[in-house]
Structure formats: C-alpha cells, structure tokens
Symmetry: C2
Subunit: 407 residues, 2 copies
C-alpha cells in the first residue's frame, strides 16, 4: 500500500516552487516556476530509475518499465501548471500520486506486466494560454501541433516560444506513446463529496464547456456633460449581459446550468470617461449537450439585446468548445472496484471541470478519481484536501492501475 | 482683435506633443510628454517677454506686466494634461487662448492697468492622479499641499515624485499669486451648444460631482464545479450595481442625473475563475446639491443590495466631492457683455464637467466661456472644435479680461 505521509511531504515540497502569499502556488504554464516544478519531479523520478521523454508540445512522459515493454503502457498523470493564485492540489495531486505509485512499486520490487507511464500535460489550466487542456488535446488529435504552438498569452508570447524558453520543447511526435488506458486522480474542485460526507468520486464523465471572447464597442466620452440618453457605454452593456446570464443560470433549479465571466477589460479606462470598448470572457457549461446549445443561444440573444439597449456594437468569438464526455465503462469499473476495496462512502459523478482526461479519453480508455476538497474551493490559494483523502485517492489510483496493467 | 489662424496653428503644434494614433494627444499629468508641452508653452511666452514662476504643486504662473504691478493680476488659463486617449482642445484651448491674448496685446503694444496672469494648473484631468483639479484645489485651499503631493498613480508613484522627475517642482508658496479675477475658456465637452446652433456658452456654474472607489469582496472559485447558488461572484455583484445605476439615471426625464463607472478591475482574473475581488469607480453628478445627496443615498442602497444578492462583501470610499458651484455675477456679466459684442447666438448654462475654475472661484471672482465641440465628444481622440469657434472664444476671453483689467 502507498505511503500517505511521503505523498503529503512531496505535495508540500512542490508547493514551495512558486509559492504565493497566502499558502497557494503560482506556476503559470511554461514560466520559470513551471519549469522548476517539472525539473523537481524529474529529479524524483530519476532517483527511482525512470526514464523520460518530451513531445513537441511539451507533454512529459515518464516511464516505469514492465515485463512486456512491447505492450502499450497504462498511463496516469495530470498537470503541474496552476492558476495565477492557484492551490497546492489542482493537477499536482494527480501527478504526485502517480509518482507515489511508482515509488511504492519501486520499494516493494513489484514489476507490472505492462509498462506504466506518468504524464505531465502542458498548460492544462488555460489561464496563461487559452484554451485549457490544449496539449492533451493536441495529443488526442483535437488540436493540430501548429494551432497549439501558436496560442498566445496576454503579452503576445506564443506557447511555442514559451516552450523553447522553458527548455521543455521536445521532439517526440505528438500522439506518442499510445496508452492502453489512462487514470487521472484529481480534487473534486466542487462541494458535492464534502457535503455528502463521501471520500471518493468515481467519475463517469465531464460536463460540456464553451468559451467565448466578447467585445462591446461603444463611444468613449466625458462622464460629466454627456447626457445619459446620448451615451454608448460599453461597460453598461457588458454589465447588463452579465446580470442577465447570472439570473438565467440561478433560475435553473437543477443547478446544471453554469455561467462565469472571469475577465473584463476596459480599453483606456479612466474614471471620468464613459467606457468606449470592453472585452469580456464568457464560460458556459452544462452536463447535457443539447442544453448547452440552448444556453449558447440564450447567451447570444442576451448579448444582442444588451448591445441594443445601450447603443453599443457587440461581437463574439467562440474560442473553445469541449463536448460532454462519457468515460470508458471498463476503466470506471476498475476505479469502482478499487474504491469498494477501501470500504469508504463514494459516489459515481460527473466532473464540472475540464481535465486532461477529457481529451485522452478520445484515444484511450479513461476514467477519473475525485477526492473531496475543503468547502469545494479550487482555483484559489485556500484550496485544501486532507492528507487522508490524498492517500486514499492515491491508493485507489494504484489499485486501478495495477488491475489494468496486469489484466 | 485676436488672430484666429495663429491660435489654430498653435493648437495644432501643441497636439504634436504626445500624439496618439487617431489624431488625439496623450500627455498624462507630469509625464515627459506633459513636461514637453509645458516647455513649449514657456518658449512661446518667453519670446514675447513674459516671466514665469512655479508653485510647490507645479502650477505654472506666466505674467504679462501691467501699468499697476502693485494690483492683483487678472488671471486666465486651464490645463495642458490630457486623458490617456485625449483630444487636442480639452484644457489646451484655455491655455493657448490665453497665450493668444498675450500675443495680441504684445503685437498691438497694449498695456493693461492690472497685470495679466496665464495659469497652467497641474493634473486637472484626474486620470493619472485622483482627484481631478487637485492642484487648483490646493491653490484655493481645498486640499493641503501634503495631501496633493501624496496622491498616487496606478504604479504607486506620488504626484510629488512625478513633479520632481518632470522638473516642475517649484518653490512659490501655494495660493500665490492672489488673483483679482479668473476667466477660463473651454470646449463644452457636451452636445448642447452644437444641437442648439449656438456659438458661445456663458457658464454660470458647475454641477456637483462625487467620486467613489468601490470594492466587492467575494470568493474566487472554479468556474466548472462550483454550483451557482454557492458562489460569491464579485463581478456579478458589480454588474448588478452598474445595471441598476444606469437604469436609475436613464429614468430621470430631466437628464440632470449622471452616473458613470469608468474603471473596473478584477483581482487575479482568469476566464475559468469566479472573480473573487472587483474594484469599481463610480462618478455621480447633479446640478442640484440635494439631488446629489439623494443620488449618493440611492447608490449606497443599490450597492448594499447588490452585495446581498450575490453573497459578496461591499465597501466604498468617497474619494472626492465637488459641490455645485455658482460663478461670480460680475465675471458672468463681463463674459456676457463680451459675447453680446460679437452678435452670435449664445446661452447661459451650467457646466457638466469639473474645471480648475471650480476651485479658483472660491478665492477669486470667476466665470467661464464655452464653445461647442463636434458631436459633444470629449475625452476622446476624435474631440474637435472649429477654428472659427476657437477664435470666437478667444476673442470673448480677451474682451472680458481687458474689461476687468482696466475697470
Ligand atoms: N481542472 C481544471 O481546472 N481545468 C481547467 C479547465 C476548466 O476550466 O475546467
Ligand atoms: N474638464 C474635465 O475634463 N475635467 C475633469 C474633471 C471632470 O471629470 O469633470
């Protein structure tokens, strides 16, 4: 069985790379902090005899050989990049639990039939480069390598340039190595398991999500002498849209409709200038694809209405769409078996967040394991999961992987 | 009579200092561009024998001697600083029309009884350092010198530090020289004169204005798995406030209620993070002080309601309040007499924008002159006034000043 204390110590050591003021981490994708986190992981893995390769979009594949190295490996992993004020567990737990599995097998001299592969996917968060999960998407063929390398951050730096600077531009063809299966352990990032007193979520799929960049084009003018009725206030139109989307999502009693506006920027903002141009991001999610279509249609109607109400031009670009995902029954079953062996309360559930497993599931049988996180808080420095839950999740991961590697 | 072509050429020459892409100017207060604009003005003034002094908050006093230099001078002037994407007339016209008055008197060998003083007030716009009109306010005793010098820009640089860097930190005590009267020519910055086909506004006063910094404190969390009903979305609360304030101001049929939110910043914004903290600026204006009180009370109620609706903490700081101003009857009369002599359509009107004349009026009899600007647009690169209107305004200014200086 895995060593929970060692896993916890490893998590806390990784959190020291790019620490933030309030106990979180900041390792935006392919920054020096992200590169330092990867280097630390590789040191740990080399110490137990693993070898590694990097593909052209920076995905890191760390191998533990099996008895039958001609067979496709069983994969696990997640991401090491974080939000600007991110936590210590989102993504990191999935990577370091994979390391803990490797360390446990190493200590006990266990060799699996199939090789095992620990994967660190590049730029999962989508915070520095949109879209999220872009490099696991490239691996699965959703995005071309050129598209992936040409994503730009807010300063105009491309993902390809950032890869070169970071030292993680590899030459392994994207899509290699093929995996026999993939298991990803992650914190839930929501409040469901904690509220129900459950210790494990057996994740059966992921809700669909769509990202939009919206631009409102009004007319900058002086805040003092410009009559209200003659204004073309881009921020007033943006505020109207946000308020209407909130009202719509809050009115869905099922709770399945989710709308978030995370970024809002005013061009040449000044407190006595009526905003002339506003850029807004919109994130729409739903567990049912047809409902997501309806949500997008509503968003587009409200956008048009907000522009008309304030005499403001509107445009929107859909920059990402990730359909509703159902994971592979045999991998879900492997996770559920491993969970039953632990004799803890658990549930089968959908994931609200996108994960690299979303794209990997297109090319390899995949499932995920969730553990609770405190108050359901994530993408926040206060993110927390208990050492016990981390250890439990790693044990379920270990057992599910072994079952698949030796089947 | 003044030389309209020379005034126009001078305006266009000043616009070349800190030019913007679309024909405007960017000379934020006390930047190298602002300093270069001041230096250009001083070169022009020195060429016609004027002397100048700078006070401790950077106000520039340029003197044309009179026959009776023991008497207090008659002042004119405005500001040379601009918005980030400002126009070529806002403030600049008032300064360069003063220069044109001096040049005209110089050419014609006219000496007035009282000396004349052309004043360039520091940081009128309030864009780099809030509040607006801070240095004319210091001159009039509204703000202490310490308060004024300690204002900070968005990068944390104080006005005092920026003064030192710019080379315009003078040693004249703030409040000197006392003025016998003050006349400020300005573009209207609104659409009223143009719509009515009138050429001059005889400005009888200025509407009251209040500035607030508002903070919404929610809880950052993941956009995907966090249920709508458990969110504490700071941007949703800000949007609700903005939408309610817009609705309230638009519902005032008199058009006297004005509300503007010019800046909105999300802390650690990311498109898949529910905004945890938002800072918003609110600018409230009204021509009646009691109505402005009522507007502030409404704003505070709506702020509380928006916070409660989204489970978000709110706080607000009133960083500036400029009461409704009535100008001096004898100065208004001087402007009206000078306007009547031109035989053009005009109106008596209140100003919607704050001007340095607001504070100067507390320590010297003051009035203002408006000319129309195209489409009422200001605080915008497209700001425009015709050469004819600029010349007309400068002539009215000249005649009003002469009447007072030789009374
Ligand atoms: N797990 C996670 O934070 N993924 C980022 C993509 C998303 O926004 O769901
Ligand atoms: N005239 C002008 O732009 N003044 C700035 C102060 C205000 O916002 O009214």
């Amino acid at each position: 069985s895995i060593d929970g204390q060692r896993l916890w110590d490893t998590l806390m050591a990784m959190a020291e790379i790019g620490p933030t003021a309030n106990g979180g981490s900041c390792r935006l994708a392919l920054t020096p902090e992200d590169a330092a986190g990867r280097r630390q992981l590789l040191d740990w893995c080399e110490a137990i005899g693993c070898t590694w390769r990097v593909d052209r979009v920076g995905n890191l594949f760390i191998r533990r050989p099996g008895r039958r190295d001609d067979l496709a490996p069983v994969g696990t992993g997640s991401h090491l990049d974080t939000q600007p004020k991110g936590g210590r567990f989102d993504g990191i737990l999935g990577v370091l639990a994979g390391l803990e599995v490797f360390r446990t097998l190493h200590d006990q001299g266990i060799v699996t039939d199939r090789p095992l592969e620990l994967v660190v996917w590049t730029n999962e968060e989508g915070s520095r480069f949109a879209p999220a999960m872009v490099a696991s998407g490239a691996y699965a063929g959703e995005f071309s390598v050129d598209y992936t390398l040409s994503r730009r951050d807010a300063d105009g730096v491309t993902l390809g340039e950032a890869l070169e600077i970071s030292g993680y531009a590899g030459d392994l063809p994207v899509g290699e190595p093929r995996l026999d299966g993939f298991f990803e352990l992650h914190i839930e990032q929501g409040p469901v398991l904690e509220a129900a007193g459950e210790s494990i979520g057996v994740v059966t799929g992921v809700q669909g999500m769509r990202w939009f960049d919206v631009t409102f084009t009004g007319q900058p003018a002086h805040a003092g002498p410009t009559p209200m009725r003659l204004r073309h206030d881009a921020l007033a139109a943006a505020a109207r849209l946000i308020d209407r989307l909130q009202a719509h999502a809050l009115a869905d009693a099922s709770g399945d409709t989710k709308v978030t506006c995370g970024c809002l920027d005013i061009e040449a903002a000044s407190r006595n200038v009526i905003p002339g141009e506003v850029r807004l991001t919109v994130d729409l999610r739903h567990v049912v694809e047809a409902e997501l279509d309806a949500l997008q249609a509503l968003f587009e109607r409200e956008l048009t209405a907000a522009g008309e109400a304030f005499g403001v031009g509107v445009s929107r670009e859909r920059i990402w769409a990730s359909p509703v995902v159902a994971f592979a029954p045999e991998c879900i079953a492997a996770v559920e078996q491993a969970t039953l062996a632990q004799d803890v309360p658990y549930r089968r559930m959908m994931s609200g967040a996108g994960h690299d497993a979303v794209y990997v599931s297109r090319v390899a049988p995949t499932a995920m394991i969730f553990i609770p996180c405190r108050d359901g808080i994530s993408h926040n420095e206060a993110e927390y999961a208990t050492p016990e839950h981390c250890a439990l999740g790693a044990q379920v991961l270990c057992d599910a992987m072994l079952a698949r590697a030796d089947r």
